[in-house]
């Protein structure tokens, strides 16, 4: 009896010594909630951030975003830009390797980027790399892929020639479309190169298992050049498109991170989980577009009046419970290369003053009470929050101008198909999330030549000219000034009325260390650690 007791104690003691002495033995796992099932793990076909979070853990581009959302060297350790701003020379890391141990070469990058621009690939985001010389022509099938401005100078040196100076090119390279694929693997495995057991990747993690709609498991990639500093051994992504389910699984402590929850949960979650709730303003704008092809929206006074009458504070606080911020500019704040955006001139006035001025403008234009009747139809894509915004805006326009406002909603696909195909409308909801952290990405939406995204068919030669100048300008300060002028003009004209800067909502467990909120919503698992 005593002996047995003694043995038991010894075993306990031995066990605790073993565990205490070698914490490295315990595998650390990050349970990472994702907002849905990835539609693809192919960098050529990816289009949504659900895929971005996974792909950027698996692969490493030439440039990456660090934990704070700043561009830093990735697979390339350094680069030079020629004086004319047209040729980038990237030096790849000598110890950058694929998960099968083979070296990451300049040839892999040439192959990957050619693959994206090849019309046969039909890459969804091919256009994001159009600044590369001949990319647009290659993608249209007018030139063969080998005419793309890419050259593998030697195994570890990559030269990229641009169509024109593109100050935000390093940001573009951090997009998931620009992530490399292993030439050898894709040539050998074809479309199957994305499957677990087959995939060869060069990031901090490698794919080990994938059950669609259940989980995607990645493990630390021992061949990664910075593997010594990767603290989490295994990252499991859980695809959960139901936001409430995502919150429940976080609260049941089954997940350390949950991405995107319903704004009406914000107050309750803050009360229950305090600091674990993160509201991080992001590079995304929620706006209404006016159809400038038709009366009365062709009249700048009407557009300005309607825009001014919208109480953005109400939308942000009452509808989104502070999970979105009031906005008066097309370009969201938080863009390092741009600084403070050019806000509409009424941004600093009180809502009461805005309404007075709006009423005056509307009267001048001859609409509303005492003038021609104001019948407005708001179109939006079906979504409870968009409906609440549209109802509130309708109310504001009714109260201010005595307008008659009707609401029309279609599902996402139909809504945007209608707008893109040039369908006529009065006022339509739209949103834009940055592809890359540059003001141009937001302002180009209103170019008269932009047939797809300029829903309201706004045409302003002065705006177009300012943008054109900005494309030709190499000096970043001068360029930023031109873009600010263009935005100021856009905000004066209000063909689009920005309402809100969107925020990313995250639940981040206390266990997770190293998390930093950032406007580009970049959160590589390699910068995180978990404490038990």
């Amino acid at each position: 009896m005593t002996l047995a007791k003694f043995n038991f104690r010894t075993a306990m003691l031995l066990g605790s010594i073993l565990i205490g002495a070698s914490p490295a033995l315990a595998e650390t796992v990050l349970h990472r909630g994702n907002a849905g099932e990835p539609q693809t793990l192919d960098q050529a076909h990816t289009s949504i951030n659900i895929e971005e979070f996974i792909l950027k853990d698996l692969y490493e581009g030439l440039t990456i975003y660090d934990a704070a959302g700043k561009i830093v060297p990735g697979a390339a350790e350094s680069w030079d830009l020629s004086d004319d701003g047209l040729v980038y020379t990237f030096k790849l890391r000598a110890n950058a390797n694929w998960s099968d141990g083979s070296p990451v070469t300049a040839g892999d990058f040439v192959f990957s980027l050619q693959r994206v621009e090849d019309p046969k690939t039909a890459a969804g985001y091919a256009n994001i790399l159009f600044p590369i010389k001949n990319a647009e022509k290659v993608n249209k099938g007018e030139l063969p892929v080998d005419q793309l401005g890419l050259k593998a100078v030697d195994e570890k040196t990559l030269e990229i020639t641009l169509e024109r100076p593109t100050p935000f090119f390093l940001e573009l390279l951090a997009h998931q479309t620009a992530l490399p694929v292993s030439k050898a693997s894709v040539e050998k495995n074809g479309a199957d190169f994305v499957k677990p057991g087959v995939m060869v990747s060069n990031g901090a993690y490698k794919l080990v298992a994938h059950t669609p709609n259940d989980s995607l498991t990645t493990e630390k990639n021992a061949s990664y050049w910075d593997a010594a500093n990767v603290k989490i051994d295994k990252v499991i992504f859980y695809p959960i498109d139901d936001q409430a389910a995502s919150v429940r699984r976080f609260e049941a402590k089954e997940m350390d991170l949950a991405y995107n929850f319903s704004a009406d949960q914000l107050e309750r979650l803050r009360a229950a989980h305090g600091e674990q709730v993160h509201v991080s303003p992001t590079l995304a704008t929620y706006y209404y577009a006016f159809d400038t092809r038709q009366e009365p929206y062709s009249d700048v006074r009407v557009r300005r009046a309607l825009s001014m009458a919208v109480d953005r504070d109400f939308l942000a606080k009452e509808i989104y419970s502070g999970s979105q911020l009031p906005s008066y500019s097309m370009v969201p704040p938080g863009m390092a290369s741009y600084g403070d955006p050019s806000k509409a001139d009424f941004a600093d006035k009180s809502q009461l003053d805005r309404e007075d001025e709006a009423l005056k403008l509307m009267k001048e234009a001859g609409y509303g009470e005492g003038g021609k009747p104001l019948d407005i139809e708001i179109r939006y894509n079906t979504n409870p929050n968009h409906e609440r915004v549209a109802t509130a805006v309708a109310d504001m326009w009714k109260n201010t101008f005595g307008a008659k406002v009707s609401l029309v909603n279609l599902d996402v696909s139909s809504h945007y198909a209608y707008l893109q195909e040039g369908g006529k409308f009065n006022v339509a909801r739209a949103g834009w999330v940055a592809d890359y952290a540059d003001a141009e990405n937001f302002l180009a939406l209103s170019l008269s030549a932009n047939k797809t995204f300029n829903y309201g068919h706004f045409e302003n030669p002065e705006f177009d000219a300012l943008m054109k100048k900005s494309y030709e300008e190499i000096d970043p300060t001068v360029r930023s000034k031109l873009l600010h002028e263009a935005e100021a003009l856009l905000m004066k004209e209000q063909p689009i009325a920005p309402f809100l800067t969107q925020a990313d909502l995250w639940l981040v467990s206390d266990r997770v260390k190293g998390w930093q909120d950032n406007a580009v919503n970049a959160h590589l698992s390699r910068f995180l650690s978990v404490s038990e």
């Binding site: 091919a126 989980s215 699984r249």
Partner: protein, 307 residues
């Protein structure tokens, strides 16, 4: 009997063909397409995609090639889940849906028949009242309410069971989704059984059996049950088809990797091929289960003969 089964299977072919044809064209009448996203694609990209998936061809030629491929079992690539074909997606998801659906069906059937029988034998008692109230709730409270309430109690508050996911497929992961999935059907089975059991207990042959002094258990189980199960069996076909092909709601709430969600997701995303695939799947299940039930009916009801 065999000729009956063969005849029914032969008639399934034109039925499937009509279902596929109607769905194909109905789907295309919906505005937008698989590549009209919240973030619209530039025209060049759109053109490349349409060409890759042959969506730039005239509709009739797309239809002809779809039918041609479908006959050989090729249901095409998913337009949205681009790394997979429709057959792969359904092949991966169906086992999960069927396993969960099978347990749910078993629970609903056994639980429902048991509860209905007890209620019928204790007609108008407090127990009957309780069972019927609970089953009324089972029918009226939708599973998107039952599911979250169950998780709230058993996963978040008590931490007994997982809030979601298939996990390792062990029972503890299945209990909550199984209950949420089974409850509405269990309630229907209970109500059907109770009604037909009460009726059966009042028939002449049961009265005769009782008069002969047969034990109550034999009367209920062997004689009354056989008649009482007929409406239950006829409801079994749609219930089985619905449960085994997965539920979009329950699978979404509990993040189960089944095929139920593909029907809804496919329709929302205009993933034409995926919708067609799930339509064919559900149609096959409905046809097969209706056939099985008809055969079962013949065995249970001496008045029905399949010659």
């Amino acid at each position: 009997m065999i000729s009956f089964v063969l005849r029914r299977l032969a008639s399934a072919v034109p039925t499937l063909f009509i279902v596929v044809t109607i769905s194909f064209f109905l789907m295309r009448f919906a505005p937008g397409g698989p590549f009209n996203l919240e973030r619209p694609l530039p025209p060049q990209t759109m053109a490349n995609l349409m060409a890759t998936y042959h969506l730039d061809q005239p509709l009739w030629s797309q239809y002809v090639s779809y039918i041609g491929n479908a006959v050989t079992g090729d249901f095409g690539p998913s337009y949205v889940y681009k790394d997979n074909t429709v057959a792969e997606l359904i092949g991966k998801g169906l086992p999960y849906s069927m396993e969960l659906g099978f347990y749910a069906l078993l629970l609903a059937l056994v639980g429902g028949v048991l509860a209905g029988t007890i209620a019928a034998l204790r007609q108008n008692s407090a127990l009957d009242f309780l069972i019927m109230s609970v089953s009324t709730m089972g029918v009226t409270v939708p599973n998107f309410v039952v599911g979250p309430v169950l998780t709230l109690i058993f996963a978040i508050t008590l931490s007994w069971l997982p809030a979601g996911s298939w996990g390792d497929g062990s029972l503890r992961f299945l209990i909550l989704p199984m209950i949420a999935l089974a409850l509405p059907q269990l309630a229907v089975f209970a109500r059907l059984t109770r009604g037909s059991m009460i009726e059966a207990l009042h028939t002449d042959h049961i009265r005769t059996a009782r008069a002969y002094g047969l034990p109550a258990r034999t009367v209920v189980i062997t004689h009354a049950m056989r008649a009482a199960l007929l409406p239950v069996v006829s409801y079994l076909a749609p219930a089985a088809a619905a449960l085994l092909t997965g539920s979009a709601v329950v699978e979404t709430i509990f993040t189960i990797p089944g095929v139920g969600r593909y029907f809804v997701l496919g329709a929302i995303n205009r993933d034409y091929t995926l919708v067609m695939g799930t339509v064919v799947l559900i149609a096959i299940f409905v046809i097969v289960f209706n056939l099985l039930v008809d055969i079962l009916y013949g065995l249970l009801d001496p008045r029905v003969r399949h010659d």
